[in-house]
Amino acid sequence: MVLIADGTALGKMPQAMLRFIRLRLLQSILALFVIITATFFLLRFVPGGPFTAEKAVPPEILRNLEAHYGLNQPLHRQYFSYLGSLVRGDLGPSFKYSNRTVNEILAEKLPVSLELGLWSLMVALSLGLTLGIVAALRRNTWADYLASAIGMIGLSAPSFVIGPLCVLAFAIHAGWFNASGWYFPSDRVLPSLVLGLAYAAPISRLARSGMLEVLNQDYIRTARAKGASELRIVMRHTLRGGLLPVVSYLGPAIAGILTGSFVIETIFQIPGLGREFVTSAFDRDYTLVLGTVILYATLLMGLNLAADVAQVWMNPKLRLE
């Protein structure tokens, strides 16, 4: 990772920070543009169109349909008109759901996926941090081994195995939850647990090694020598430095949770963005696919940026680089 290259003095910190953010923002916009362009042309060059999947449409009607959606225009014209409306925030009409715009569909599906993601992130963070911190403080005790066992399970047992097994055990046999759907508050529990568990594992590992590294530092020994209580040492002196690796992992973790929801939404039949994306790809619903990709990419890059900023903010060493 390259940060601000000049040795900014401590007093000018906010400005250096701003420059860093500006640089990354520029990079993200460039990447977003590449993504939009690549996806747009990929969609146009693949065999089959949105109207070929249906029962044979008479050629005249096909021509009308294509004219209606502007598919008969030259490719570059389509591309620029898409970019034009995109700047105005308009993602165009869906090819598959007549009379619905992509904006409407996304506005309906996104909150569901976001809620699932948020709950899962909370599961991952609370479980992962607790396990990791306890494992580091009680090194080589049963708590440490339990944490690493759970970590290994989260790392090796994929959500599409754990998910159905959880449904089998807790929904079908125990009857505590519904096997699928997204109607009641209790419907949130199983999907969030399954999705969150996968990310609790790496978080606990990172937290453990980060904490251990800091706990070995001289200044912790100094704090101990000065008679600081164990709680104070952890809260005041260790957490901030020890959890840095976790913060830098948050960007990828959030990205993983967002795409991980594809499988979870399929298993639990949750009407979210992930399931919609796979369906729209099968349907060749160009505008919907493109809109979903743009939305995901923007989300991912925004969150990555936020994670990087948090990391720089928490780690004075990086600020000076």
Partner: protein, 298 residues
């Protein structure tokens, strides 16, 4: 960058003079019980997946509609599926496919990653900055979406699956190799090679790369399970390997669909898949300790 202590000096006990570092690492690995367990389990799984299908009296696509959803018995050790196919042969053959995808996509990722990372790290300067900035940008892309799109649009063939997965996984490899090359290229023996007038390519491939094999091996071992996860993920969504062909992802998908009445259809392939991932991860962790690789990704 401080010079790296060779692995043979990092262990606690005194080193016998002349013991090659790789042998040293091997001895350390053998003492790690979890890693040995992982390695042995992996060997067994690979062996039965490779040999098993030849010994089975059934074919993987052989249907028997009179005996659907059969419970495990002495004729079908793991029972039969919704079309009366023998589950054992499908699990073993699926294992072959999943392992093959894991290995080949890792090789793809490894090759691209090593060459890219080594060139960037060795060249340094502007070229390095440009190459790594590109990796940064690619890292931010929602690759899963692209893999899904590729698989939907270009028929779901298995070669494309290797390429798509390999194309996602090479990024981390490139970063690791670059970091390693940068720390090694300042060492004296590289200087010596330069003084001897060796060409850059020879120095890079003959002198630098062999000395960073440790991290490469470790990371490759850890890439295989994550590649197998992607394959299973795609197959689970119906985008990877296609029925009647078998893979662990497909079997888990099919098993999940009928788990209420016939849980063994999910449990057998799910367990074997998880066991394999466990073994690979244990082995990778053990190798990391044995080869004394610090887990840094940037």
């Amino acid at each position: 960058m401080s010079p790296k202590i060779p692995p043979s000096m990092a262990g606690q006990e005194p080193v016998e003079p002349g013991r090659p570092p790789m042998l040293d690492a091997w001895l350390r690995l053998r003492r790690n019980r979890l890693a040995v367990f992982g390695g042995l389990t992996l060997l067994i799984v690979v062996a039965i997946c490779v040999v098993g299908p030849w010994l089975s009296p059934y074919a993987y696509e052989e249907q028997n509609l009179a005996a659907t959803y059969g419970k495990p018995d002495w004729r079908h050790w793991l029972g039969t599926d919704q079309l009366g196919r023998d589950l054992l042969i499908r699990v073993l053959l699926g294992g072959r496919i999943s392992l093959a995808v894991g290995l080949s996509a890792t090789v793809v990722a490894l090759t691209i990653g090593i060459v890219y990372g080594a060139v960037a790290g060795f060249a340094g300067g502007l070229l390095d900055a440009a190459m790594m900035r590109m990796v940064d940008i690619l890292y931010a892309l929602p690759f899963t979406l692209f893999v899904i799109l590729l698989m939907v649009f270009f028929g779901r063939n298995i070669i494309l699956l290797f390429v798509a997965i390999g194309a996602v996984e090479w990024l981390t490899m490139a970063r690791i190799v670059r970091g390693q090359v940068m720390s090694v290229k300042r060492l004296e023996y590289v200087e010596a090679a330069r003084v001897l007038g060796y060409g850059r390519r020879r120095i890079l491939f003959r002198h630098i790369l062999p000395n960073i094999l440790g991290p490469i091996i470790v990371y490759a071992t850890l890439t295989v399970p994550s590649v197998m996860l992607i394959e299973a993920f795609l197959s689970f969504l119906g985008l990877g390997v296609q029925p009647p062909m078998s893979s662990w992802g497909i079997l888990i998908k099919e098993g999940a669909a009928s788990m209420e009445e016939y849980p063994w259809l999910l449990i057998f392939p799910g367990t074997l898949f998880t066991l394999t991932l466990f073994s690979l991860n244990f082995l990778g962790d053990g190798l990391r300790d044995a080869l004394d690789v610090r887990s840094s990704k940037d």
